[in-house]
Point group: C2
Chain length 256, copies 2
Amino acid sequence: MKIVCLGSGNVATHFAQALKLAGADLIQVWSKTLANAEALANVLGSIATDDLSAINPHADLYLICVKDDAITDVTKHLSAVKGTVIHTSGATPLSVLSTSGFNDYGVIYPLQTFSKKQAVDFKKVPLCIEADNETTLLALKNLASGLSEEVHEISSEDRKLLHLAAVYACNFTNHLYHLAATLLKRNDLSFSLLKPLIMQTAEKVQGEALPISLQTGPAIRNDELTMQRHLELISDFPVLTEVYETLSKSIKKTYL
Amino acid sequence: MKIVCLGSGNVATHFAQALKLAGADLIQVWSKTLANAEALANVLGSIATDDLSAINPHADLYLICVKDDAITDVTKHLSAVKGTVIHTSGATPLSVLSTSGFNDYGVIYPLQTFSKKQAVDFKKVPLCIEADNETTLLALKNLASGLSEEVHEISSEDRKLLHLAAVYACNFTNHLYHLAATLLKRNDLSFSLLKPLIMQTAEKVQGEALPISLQTGPAIRNDELTMQRHLELISDFPVLTEVYETLSKSIKKTYL
């Protein structure tokens, strides 16, 4: 299978490497920054370009891994291609690909956080697939099943919701780690002290138990004295205070 | 070493089992609820009581693992003991033990989240120790080093801060997992889809990189369009909206 990868960021890097590992031929990498295209192309044994009009029209699959608001710009230059065109965005509906006259198009959204430097076991990444017709859906299902054990048919509407849920479970969570680190740094305490706790908090929800049954801390106990003491410790730190109050209130609303 | 365990909750269960594993003799377990004391005593091959006046006065160590506001009540009944008295609370200063006339007292605070049913590798649990004198500190250090590879001398003031940081990194984080689960449940989507993402988000901060360098999502990009779309999806869900707005604002303040 011949694939053109459009984009060279975190998703492109991990997705294209997983495809290569599964035996695909990455024939071209496009990025608006040539150096980035070349860096990824080198890893893939592929050819780099920064020219959308130079995209090879003879690939079987066009993998769009660009920022959400750049997807339409990229697809405009793919009108001549015969292969299947897919995007990888959680927040973007399938329909964004309907206006460019493609025969076959779809979505494979990997529900994971990627950094170029961080290894990810792609076999465990949930791949959310959608397509404009049954034949393409089946083809994407086969492709995705070669990359991951977790392949799910997900509509554009549900994918949007998953993407939002991921903001809570990943983006906001990482920010809480940062706020904890900020607090420790003020007293020259090492962030490393929190690492086992962070791992265990994530591991606890990997089994059958839902997070709602695993909640601990002063807010769920309605322990006003401890919460007051905590707020005194951060009284000169309005951002930490607002987050503390909002999340404690949300916990209390959930349980009390 | 003969140890009396006061309390039978999550911390008591894991701490006492780690002590037993390290060769200590758990001679007695007290809990205000006899059935709870008995359940833990059975696991430890120990004797249960719900009577504080029946506490064995001949132990080497008294391990207090009760709720913060019950520590003083418990210590009142330990005035006759000769052994070292320690509590395990993050939010409670060492000085709470100073009024009961103990010769040797201290703190071993395990910086981890414990549930009775969930296994924890105690060797990896950071143990924060403090004592009223150097001899006791050394004794606690030796004891703690037999239980965990992570033993740290931490003052009451710093321990209080660590405890607060843990609220962000564990309690609030788990609540974000719950809010994500709530969102998915509305559309009959499985929380399992988020589990690999949650693990990876925690794993990412286990290395050298600090959370501040790993932040992703619409807020750090100041992607107002995506944030507006997200808020529309939860417009009928005031709790989710408030958390979304507060954390997005905090992220923007951190980076922009």
